[in-house]
Each structure stands twice: as C-alpha cells, then as structure tokens.
Symmetry: C2
DNA sequence: GATCCTGTAACTATTATAGTTACAGGTATG
DNA sequence: CATACCTGTAACTATAATAGTTACAGGATC
C-alpha cells in the first residue's frame, strides 16, 4: 500500500489555515473543502497539534499554525501524520533462516540500503516548505482572486 | 502502511539464486531460507519472471537470472513486485472541493512535489545493483565459508 | 507411469485506512 | 447561566492490501 492520504490532507488543512488565517475555521468547514468527514479532519489536526505544528484549543475553532510557514517543511508534516513510517518506510521479512548465508545477513544488508533510499525521499520533502506550497496554490489559481468566499458548504 | 516485504523477499530470492546458481533450487527450499510458504515464493518469482528479471520453467526447479546481476538494480526489483507503487508512492485525496482555492489546486501542486520525492527514492534504489547486495552479504558473512550446505530444512 | 515441481485459484487471518455515529466536556455569547 | 456550538475521542463499520495456507491442474523428468 502507498503512503496514506493523511499526508496530503494535512497539507491541505495547513494551507487552508494559512490562507484563511484571519478567519476561524471549524473542522466541519475544513472537511467541506477536503471533502471528507469532520472527524477525519479533527483526527489529523490532533496529530499536527501533538507534533507542535499547530496549536488547537478544545471547544473552539481557533487552530493556529505555531510558526511561520517558511519554517515548516513537508517532512515535518509527513512525520507528524505518517507515524508508522517514521522508523521504516520499507518492510523487511524478519524471520529469515539464520542457518543460511543469505538469510543470516539479508536483513542488515537491506536495512543499510533501504535507509539510504528513505533518507533521499525525506531530504526531498525537507527541502519544500509550506510557504512554497501556498505560493504554488496561489500562482496556479490565477482566475479566482477571492480565496474562501465561494466555497460550497453543501 | 509501509512498502511490502515482497521487495525484501524478492532480493533474498535473487541473492540465493545467484549464490547457488549451480544448484537447482525448489520453491520449497527457497521458502525454508526466507522462512515462509512456498506459494509466497512462487508468487514473487512469478512477478520477477513477468518483469523479465528471471526466467522460470513450469514444472521444473530451474529459475535463471536473466542477465548479469551487475545489470539488475534494486529499482528493477522494486518495480517488479511493488506494482501498486509504480505510479504513485504517495496517495492524494482526490475529491477536494473545486469551489475552494486550496481544494481546486492542491492535487496538482502536491503531485509535483510528491513525484520529486518519489524520484529521489527511486534514484537511490537505481544506484544499487544486485551485485553490490551479494557482495555485501558475502563480506558480512566472514565466518561461514559454505553457503547453503547447512541450511535447516525443518 | 510415478514422482516431483511450478503456476495459480481460492480461501483465511491480519492489519491499515478512512468514514461514520455518538458523546463527554470545553467555550462563548446573549 | 443556559443555550448553542465546537473539539477530542471512543467505538464501530467498510474496504483493501498483505501474507499465509490448502488444493490442484498440468509440465518435466527419470
């Protein structure tokens, strides 16, 4: 299976919070932009909160991004929501036969190489900031000047 | 979820085939080294066969690696067995609200960045050959000179 | 022809994801 | 302070991927 859509949803949420930072967005409203359930949004925002990327307050729609978005990388977001992959993106079969040369050494050998591949991916994510993402979103959207006014809440 | 262990098992199988290339390895025997079921091995070998990395013959234990292992990269193996990830390692939520600036543009924006991260990972895998893996396995195993003679078939 | 092996279908168990309902408890405002 | 709204979270469901297992048709070999 691939890396979950929690990652892309998290970036979506953060972009919304930034672009609409003067407004108070409810999880219900954010969910209507993502097109999912509000609990899914609150769940992911809970992860972002726990990771220190946003600050949320129980009972009130006032999620604040905790630092300038130029200082938040995609890797920060990725690590916040892809908890299972923090350690290892690649699975390695772990019960190989120790009486076999290959079985005995394959795990360690692959771990080295897989870690390197994972690091390359993570470095790429680390090189992109939320600021760049928001800029991309705004540049791509040349036709609609207003940001959130026309959102369809249905 | 992480990248499946099919990848690591596939590298295991190929390493075994290379190191024991003078012998005829049955899927049952390979399975005892990987410590899994022989059907799992045959399934993965079927994928490697379909990808042109090995040549198998129905009914006979004679899988042959199709070209010198210096010409087979980890990426080749990865693409052979991680069919779902060939296109996209990262999932992107795909029904975002088109009436919202973020929802309208997030998919395309993230696709660009995610593809770059995926490419970085794949390039790393492409830079490692099966020959290097087999060398690693042999170097790490300084104590046991014989390769497969002591394998425990139980 | 007997035996061994591969290839593959079919089934099960396990796990992750994502959506949903429900609700306890915080917050705010009139 | 009462009402209304919102968050945080538990619990459940549906779906899908992975991996293991049994079973068997059919190829290969002696």
């Amino acid at each position: 299976m691939a890396i979950s859509s929690r990652f892309s949803v998290a970036v979506h949420i953060l972009s919304l919070l930034e672009i609409s930072k003067t407004e108070r967005l409810t999880s219900e409203f954010i969910a209507s932009s993502v097109n999912t359930n509000s609990v899914v949004v609150r769940r992911i925002m809970g992860m972002l909160n726990k990771a220190g990327i946003i600050n949320t307050s129980p009972g009130v729609a006032r999620a604040m991004i905790s630092r300038p978005i130029a200082q938040i990388s995609l890797l920060d977001v990725y690590l916040a929501v892809e908890i299972d992959h923090q350690d290892h993106l690649f699975s390695i079969h772990d019960k190989a036969n120790p009486n076999c040369l290959v079985g005995k050494n394959i795990q360690h050998t692959l771990e080295q190489r897989f870690t390197q591949a994972q690091r390359a991916m993570e470095n790429e994510l680390a090189s992109v900031t939320l600021e760049q993402i928001v800029t991309d979103l705004l540049v791509q959207d040349s036709s609609i000047p207003s940001t959130m006014t026309t959102i369809n809440k249905g």
